[in-house]
């Protein structure tokens, strides 16, 4: 157990932006919420998964909906309180701690803000190890844990409990209600006991985000190459270095899709990398051959400063480094790949782990 203060929150925000793999929303607003909450309530207790009692009720909390709306209509002060007290009434148990549902993007720090406000600990774990767009895309789902009861809350005081037949229905119904609540709502879901969090969660992810953020900060201070430092801390592989030369976007069924083309510089001169995204980067192709495929993580960083770049921040002329980070092994199972693999997102190819030589582009054809 340790405490999260201002410095840790700043670092987590940077690391979470990287682990957002281009999506997940800018963690800046989550950071500000967390900073205001700890300023008013004091530092937050961070628990490791092995510190959780088997039967303690852990409830992940986060935001559902459009990041654009969240940045304009930030949450109020009572959504989380309302959601948790309804969860407690419904289950007849007390909430022991909260945790992030996804470590990538804005949802990484919202639980820290909520924890400070409600005086609860937050657990060093999440259900993705990255960011994904839909609520069944969590390791808990792979292990048969239900998203229900799922509670949505808005700033007006509306709360809604959903009990759905499966997690796809939870996604569908919660998404519709969120639109009515103004396009962004607080969601408490996947209530679990301590032993389930240990079994199914991706342990240590808040700490990993913090490490990555710290590495980028310190590399800047010490004039080191931030990209190398990030690779070192995250166990990643450098995929490419280049300059964005083209970007095309369109919105299909609510998701921002598109492709960015990056022309190589330095060692990658005269090579081309294409990054395909649907909110998150999902497929990287070097000279038309896939080199990193969802659910492995594709992250872009500013080549000089190491600042993570989101799909919205990608623009002509940006010089960036692209790195791949192996996903959690749970994602590489059959069910994991069915849920978040290339097929689910409509890419007609088989998944290849990032570390295999063929995926690294070493393949001679």
């Amino acid at each position: 157990m340790r405490y999260l203060g201002e410095r840790e929150i700043e670092d987590i925000a940077v690391g979470a932006s990287l682990l957002g793999t281009g999506g997940g929303g800018d963690p800046h607003i989550g950071k500000l919420m967390a900073l205001q909450a700890i300023e008013e309530q004091g530092p937050v207790q961070l628990l490791e998964v092995d510190e959780l009692p088997d039967d303690a009720l852990i409830v992940p909390i986060g935001m559902m909906g459009a990041p654009t709306v969240l940045f304009e209509k930030a949450p109020g002060e009572h959504e989380a309180t309302n959601a948790f007290s309804m969860m407690e009434d419904y289950l007849g148990e007390k909430v022991y701690a909260t945790m992030p549902i996804e470590i990538g993007g804005v949802n990484s720090l919202l639980p820290v803000a909520v924890a400070a406000r409600l005086g609860l600990p937050v657990v060093n774990v999440d259900g993705m190890g990255r960011a994904f767009p839909e609520l069944q895309m969590v390791t808990f789902y792979l292990d048969g844990i239900s998203a229900s009861p799922l509670i949505l809350a808005d700033e007006r005081g509306n709360t809604s409990v959903m009990n759905t037949v499966d997690n796809h229905w939870a996604e569908r119904l919660a998404r519709s209600a969120t639109i009515q609540m103004g396009g962004s709502a607080t969601v408490a879901q996947y209530p679990m006991h301590g032993k389930d969090v240990r079994r199914s969660g991706i342990a240590g992810s808040l700490g990993l985000a913090e490490d990555i953020g710290k590495a980028i900060r310190e590399a800047k201070q010490n004039n080191q190459n931030p990209v190398d430092e990030v690779i070192l801390r995250s166990g990643g592989i450098k995929l490419f270095e280049g300059k964005v030369t083209d970007i095309s976007r369109r919105t299909v069924t609510g998701f921002a899709r598109g492709t960015a083309t990056i022309e190589g510089i330095n060692a990658d001169r005269s090579h081309t990398l294409k990054l395909h995204f649907q909110n998150e980067f999902l497929l990287a192709e070097k000279n038309d051959a896939p080199v990193c495929i969802t659910p492995d993580l594709i992250c872009t960083l500013d080549a000089d400063t190491g600042t993570p770049i989101t799909t919205e921040g990608l623009r002509y002329g940006v010089r960036c480094a692209v790195i791949g980070i192996p996903c959690h092994e749970k994602w590489r199972t059959n069910k994991g790949l069915e849920t978040c693999g290339p097929g689910y997102f409509g890419y007609g190819m088989d998944y290849m782990p990032l570390e295999t030589p063929a995926a690294k582009g070493d393949k001679t054809v």
């Binding site: 459009a66 709306v69 209509k73 109020g76 700033e155 969120t178 919105t251 609510g254």
Partner: protein, 518 residues
């Protein structure tokens, strides 16, 4: 014949030009920016008018690009007593106004804060009914405490009804007081827009003093000109608007340089290298306007969502200090002698080796006294010069959008530093009057209007939505003083919004036209 005067106040120099109707440059001056910025402006103005010899009564327009407000924010000085009203509770209470703003600034500006119920959703619905009574109460409390009010309502870029009503109430209770509305200032992104609105409210006195000072100076010179201020996007605003929304002037300097470079070279798409005394800024012209940065911009360490020109800045200018070492190695900057170049540089009899000395010693420029640098090691100088060019070429490569070479325009007082050929450049243009491109950019600027809204493309259709936005933008430009027949759409951006129904898309359109003749 009528004339216009353009003045640009930069960190190092204050430049002034006089142009005729065809935008021919009749006279130009360059002076060091004085500690008292206004004094420098008046002196430059006097000088350039005398040099041009044009009849004073024929000077009809005066354009000023200035850093007064930027300086006030950076130095945290001469602020108004600001009242802050945010309309949107119970939403957004988890991030109160000025969260994340540096403590010294927060302490100065965050003294009178009122959070009232109201605001809108992304689709224009009200979040909750607007609590007008709460605004009346806030206004009564602020009456003798503040002299400027910032009002920010959630999703006011979609509907500004609550902000407008709040302004009416404030003026009904307090009487005449400047009220800054966030919908006039920024786009979607509550905290950034609110920060910009609060900063705006904090510098309205500074802006008014600057404007009044400038107009008085003109009057003393016997000039009855219509006064405009340069704004961040390279277009002009009327003095009345500038006093209300001074925050829109804080980044006009680099923009004016880019616009001036475009005009002087006749190029609409090119890279512009603006070489100053301490740094060199590289920007990109697209359709004669600066390409804007997509990232959040900090002003005085406050995050705002302004659109600023997308620039890379390198620590190399005419006054950059070069240190040679015995082992034939060297270091270029980032220190600079800045405006003291004429006394510090070797070629001017000073004691400091600068970038300017290097080019003079190699015979690539003819200023000062070349004999004072003849003793330097030519081999080493050649290496230093090559490194300087590499710095610029690296930045050029960074800003280019494709591998193809592009035209490069060199402007600014220090542009003698660079040669007529650079890697990545299809041609290097050093236009006439390159030294005062920024003042020219201010003088030739157009009048613009802008709109940013969220459209449901399922309801509108993309073409209709964009047409609608275009009409509003042109209407805004005409309202601001543009001649409708010359108005053109200079920028269109549509960004699809994820996770919203009906293909919600944010459309931003900017129109600009020539000043309507009076």
């Amino acid at each position: 014949m009528t004339y216009r005067i353009g003045i640009d106040v930069g960190g190092t120099n204050t430049d002034a030009v006089i142009l005729d109707e065809q935008f021919n440059v009749l006279a130009k001056t360059k002076r060091h920016t004085t500690a008292d910025v206004s004094k420098g402006i008046y002196q430059s103005m006097k000088e350039v008018i005398e040099a041009s010899g044009v009849p004073r009564q024929d000077i009809q327009y005066a354009m000023l690009g200035t850093t007064h407000c930027t300086n006030a924010i950076v130095e945290r000085k001469r602020f108004n007593q600001v009242g802050i009203i945010r309309i949107g509770a119970p939403a957004a209470m988890a991030v109160k106004p000025m969260t994340g703003v540096p403590a010294d600034l927060k302490q100065k500006l965050n003294q009178h804060v009122y959070l009232v119920e109201g605001g809108h959703e992304f689709d224009g619905r009200e979040i909750v009914p607007f609590d007008e009574e709460a605004v009346y109460n806030a206004a009564r409390k602020m009456k003798d405490e503040v002299d400027s009010v910032a009002v920010t309502s959630i999703f006011s870029p979609v509907s500004n009804a609550h902000e407008k009503r709040a302004a009416e109430i404030i003026q009904e209770v307090i009487g005449s007081i400047p009220v800054s509305l966030s919908s006039e200032i920024g786009s979607v992104g509550l905290l950034e827009r609110e920060n910009a609105t609060i900063l705006n409210a904090s510098v309205v006195n500074v802006a008014e003093a600057t404007a009044v000072g400038f107009m008085n100076a003109l009057e003393e010179e016997g000039i009855d000109a219509k006064v405009f201020f340069g704004q961040n996007d390279g277009t002009l605003m009327s003095v009345d608007y500038a006093i209300k929304y001074p925050i829109l002037t804080v980044a006009c300097g680099p923009t004016n340089s880019l616009r001036g470079a475009s005009y002087l070279s006749g190029k609409s798409d090119a890279l512009v290298i603006d070489v100053g005394g301490t740094t060199t800024d590289i920007g990109v012209l697209i359709d004669s306007f600066p390409r804007e940065s997509s990232l959040a911009v900090d002003i005085g360490e406050v995050r705002t969502n302004f659109r600023m020109p997308d620039l890379v800045s390198i620590g190399l200018g005419g006054g950059t200090v070069i240190r040679m070492k015995d082992d034939q190695t060297f270091a270029i900057g980032p220190e600079s002698v800045g405006y003291r170049l004429p006394e510090k540089a070797l070629v001017f009899g000073g004691d400091t080796l600068t970038a300017t000395d290097v080019v003079v010693a190699l015979g690539k420029a003819d200023i000062g006294d070349p004999s004072k640098v003849q003793h330097l090691d030519k081999m080493l100088l050649t290496n230093i010069y090559a490194s300087m060019i590499k710095m610029a070429e690296k930045a050029i490569d960074q800003m280019k959008t494709s591998a193809d070479p592009v035209p490069v325009i060199l402007v600014g007082g220090g542009s003698i530093l660079f040669p007529d050929a650079l890697e990545g450049a299809s041609e290097v243009i050093k236009p006439e009057n390159f030294g005062v491109a920024n003042a020219i950019g201010a003088a030739i600027a157009q009048i613009s209007g802008q709109v940013e809204r969220i459209y449901s493309l399922n309801d509108w259709g993309r073409d209709k939505a964009i047409d609608h936005a275009k009409q509003i933008a042109i209407g805004e430009a005409v309202k601001a003083g543009a001649d409708e027949t010359t108005c053109q759409i200079v920028d269109i951006e549509d960004v699809p919004l994820a996770y919203l129904p009906g293909n919600a898309t944010r459309i931003r359109v900017k129109a600009a036209g020539e000043l309507a003749s009076t």
